[in-house]
Symmetry: C2
Subunit: 344 residues, 2 copies
DNA sequence: TTTAGCACTCCGTTCGCCTGAGTGCTAATC
DNA sequence: GATTAGCACTCAGGCGAACGGAGTGCTAAA
C-alpha cells in the first residue's frame, strides 16, 4: 500500500469517527482532535488524496467523507482493535452460558438471541454440522399404513425427522428390527459413509422391499449433519434501525432476503473456516446487502470446527466490539456443545 | 341493531370500497355507484348518522370516512361474502397439496409460505397439538457421559428432542432397555397420561436412580403435544407493505412483536376452536396491532381440531378472499395430516 | 510544506401558497 | 317529510422559494 503513516492515521480516525457518529466526517472535526497537530486545510488535502485512492467517498460536494468498502477492509485487517466488553454484556453472556441445557435447538436459538440483543444487529447461527458426524441411533416409527417416520440421531445431539413411504407389508416389528440392526451395525460410523455401506451391505437382504432402502438412505443423506442447512435467526427487525433502510421499500427487500434462510445459510457457509472473518458491503455479493457487513465466527466441538455464527449489520458497525462479542460467544457455544456432546 | 336497510347497504358499500382503495370514502363516489339512486347529499346525511353510531370515522374534517373496528365486525359477521379463488391461487394451493411429503416441520413451513404468498400478508401456522396425542416411541440416546438425548415421537408424526442428565452409571444398554420398555408399555397411550403412569408404575424400579425418572417425565410433559407452542411463520416482511407501517418506528415495533413467537402463539391460541374466526383491530388487545386483523382457521386431524393457522394483515384486508384461502388451506392441511397420521 | 482565508456548492428545513376533495348546512323541490 | 342542489368552509398534501449551515477546493501567504 502506498499510504504513508499520516494518511493511515487520518483514515483510521475517519473510520472510527464515522462508525461512532454515522455522519460524513469533515476536515474540521478531525483537526479539532488534539492528537492531530494539523490544520483542517492540511487534512482536507490528505482527504482528497485518500478519495483519489479509493478509500473515501463523498455523498455530495459539500459533505464530509465516508469510508469506502476498501477502507473498511483495510480497517478490519490492520487497524481495528478489539474493544473490551462492558460488565453488562459479560453478565448477559455468562448468564446464557450457565442457563440450563435444553435440546440443541434451544441452545442455538438462545445463542442467536443473545448475539442480537448485545450487538443490536441481526444474528445468524448455523446448526452444528460436520462431515465427521457420527450416527448414534436410527429409529423407524410406523405412522399410517405405508408410512414411517425416520428419526436420525447423531453425535451432534439432535434428532432430525422426516417421513418416508414403506412397503405396506412391513409391520411395526420389522421396522423396529431394522432400526435396531442399523443402529447397532453403524453405531458411531460417519454419516457420510453410512449411506454407501447400507446400500452395499443391506441391499441383498432388503432387495424385495422396492425402493425402501434407497428412500431411507436418501433421507439420511439429505440430512448429512442431521441439521443440514438449518440456522437460527434473531433480531431481523434490528435491520430497520439503521438509516440506510429507512426507505420502506429497501427495508422490505432486505427483510425478504433475510427471511430466505437458504441464502442466509449460504452466506454463513461462504465465510469459510476462519475463526473470525469479515465480509464487507460489496464483498457479500448481494445488492441488497451492499450497505451491510457480515462478521462471522466459527465454533468448534472439541477441536473440530462444526458451525458458524454471524452478525449482519451496517458496514459502519463497531467491528471491534462485534468481534469481541462473537469471539466470546463462539467459545461459549463451543464449550457448551463440547461438554454436552464430546465423544465419551 | 338500529340500522335500517339503507344504512346497512351504504355501510357495506363503504367497507367494500375502502378495502379496495385504501383511501377514505367520500359521499360522491358512492352516489356515482348506479346501484344507489341517491344524491351525494343524502348519502352524506346517512354517513353522518353512521359516524354518530360509531361505525365510521373521519381522519379529518375534509376527508371521507373510513370504517371503524365496529363496522368491520358487523361486516364480517353479516355482510361479507366469500370470494371465489382465482385459477392461479388454486393452482398454487393444489400444487402444495400434492407436494411430496417431508417431515411435519416442512409441511408446516410450506403451509405458512403458501398462505403468505397468496394473501400477501403474514401467515402463522401452529404445530398440531392435541391433548389426545399418543405416544409412538421413546428413545434415550446416550451422549456424553451423564447426558442423554430424549427423543419423543407421537402420532402427530414428529420427533421432539431435548437433553437430560442421567446417572453416570447408566450405560447405553440400560438406556436402550428403558426406552424399549417405555415404548412398548405406553404405546398409544395419551401423552397427558403417560407421565403420571410412569411415575406410579416405574417409580419402584427406578427409585435408586435419583431424579432421573422425574426429569424424564418432566421433559416429556413440557412437550405435551410434542410440539407445544411451536409455530411456523412466513411473510413477516409483508407487514411493511401497508401504509400504516410506513413509519419506520412502528414497523420496527411490529416486527419485533411478530418475532416473539410466544405471543404469536398466544394470539392464535386465543382464537378458539372455531372453524374460522376474526379478531379485528382493538379486539387483538395489542396496541401495536390496532390497525391489524387476524383471521384464523382451525384444522383437524380426522375429526379432532388440533391446530390453528392464521393470517395477520391490515384491518382493511379483503376478508372474503382471506377466508376462502384459509378455508381451503385448513382443509388441505387437515387431509394431508389425516392421511399421513391417522390411527391405523 | 503548512496554513489562513474566501468564494462556492449543495443539502435539508422552513414557510407560505395553492389546489382539490370533501364536508355540513340551508333553502328549494318532490 | 324526504331528497336534492348549491354554497361556503376546512384541511391535508404538494410545490417552490428562501435560508442557514456544513464543508469543500483553491489561492496566496507564512
Amino acid at each position: 500500500m502506498d499510504l504513508n503513516p499520516r494518511k493511515l492515521r487520518i483514515l483510521r480516525a475517519i473510520v472510527d469517527e464515522y462508525i461512532l457518529s454515522g455522519a460524513p466526517v469533515g476536515s474540521k472535526v478531525l483537526s479539532q482532535n488534539p492528537s492531530f497537530k494539523l490544520s483542517s486545510a492540511t487534512i482536507r488535502n490528505e482527504m482528497a488524496d485518500l478519495e483519489d485512492l479509493g478509500y473515501l467517498e463523498q455523498p455530495h460536494t459539500s459533505a464530509g467523507r465516508i469510508p469506502s468498502d476498501k477502507a473498511y477492509r483495510l480497517y478490519v485487517n490492520n487497524m481495528m482493535q478489539r474493544s473490551n466488553l462492558t460488565e453488562d454484556e459479560i453478565k448477559v453472556m455468562s448468564a446464557y452460558c450457565q442457563s440450563k441445557v435444553k435440546g440443541l435447538d434451544a441452545v442455538m436459538r438462545e445463542t442467536a438471541s443473545v448475539l442480537s440483543r448485545i450487538t443490536h444487529y441481526t444474528a445468524l447461527v448455523m446448526m452444528p454440522e460436520s462431515s465427521t458426524n457420527r450416527l448414534r441411533h436410527l429409529q423407524l416409527v410406523p405412522l399410517a399404513e405405508g408410512y414411517a417416520l425416520v428419526v436420525v440421531v447423531t453425535d451432534a445431539g439432535v434428532a432430525r425427522d422426516s417421513v418416508i413411504r414403506v412397503p405396506v407389508e412391513m409391520g411395526a416389528d420389522e421396522l423396529d428390527r431394522i432400526s435396531r440392526i442399523i443402529s447397532q451395525r453403524y453405531y458411531n460410523c460417519r454419516m457420510i459413509e453410512v449411506g454407501d455401506r447400507m446400500m452395499k451391505e443391506l441391499g441383498g437382504e432388503l432387495q424385495d422391499r422396492g425402493t425402501f432402502l434407497t428412500d431411507l438412505v436418501e433421507t439420511m443423506e439429505t440430512a448429512p449433519g442431521a441439521n443440514a442447512h438449518r440456522i437460527a435467526l434473531s433480531g431481523a427487525n434490528n435491520m430497520l434501525d439503521f438509516p440506510a433502510y429507512s426507505d420502506i421499500d429497501r427495508a422490505r427487500q432486505l427483510l425478504a432476503a433475510v427471511e430466505k434462510k437458504d441464502s442466509m445459510y449460504q452466506m454463513l457457509k461462504n465465510a469459510g473456516p476462519f475463526e473470525i472473518s469479515f465480509r464487507i458491503g460489496s464483498e457479500l455479493g448481494e445488492d441488497i446487502f451492499s450497505d451491510c457487513s457480515l462478521v462471522t465466527a466459527t465454533y468448534r466441538i472439541g477441536n473440530m470446527p462444526v458451525g458458524t455464527m454471524g452478525v449482519i449489520g451496517p458496514t459502519r458497525m463497531p467491528y471491534g466490539k462485534v468481534v469481541s462479542v462473537l469471539d466470546y460467544m463462539r467459545k461459549s457455544l463451543g464449550s457448551i456443545l463440547t461438554n454436552l456432546l464430546e465423544e465419551d
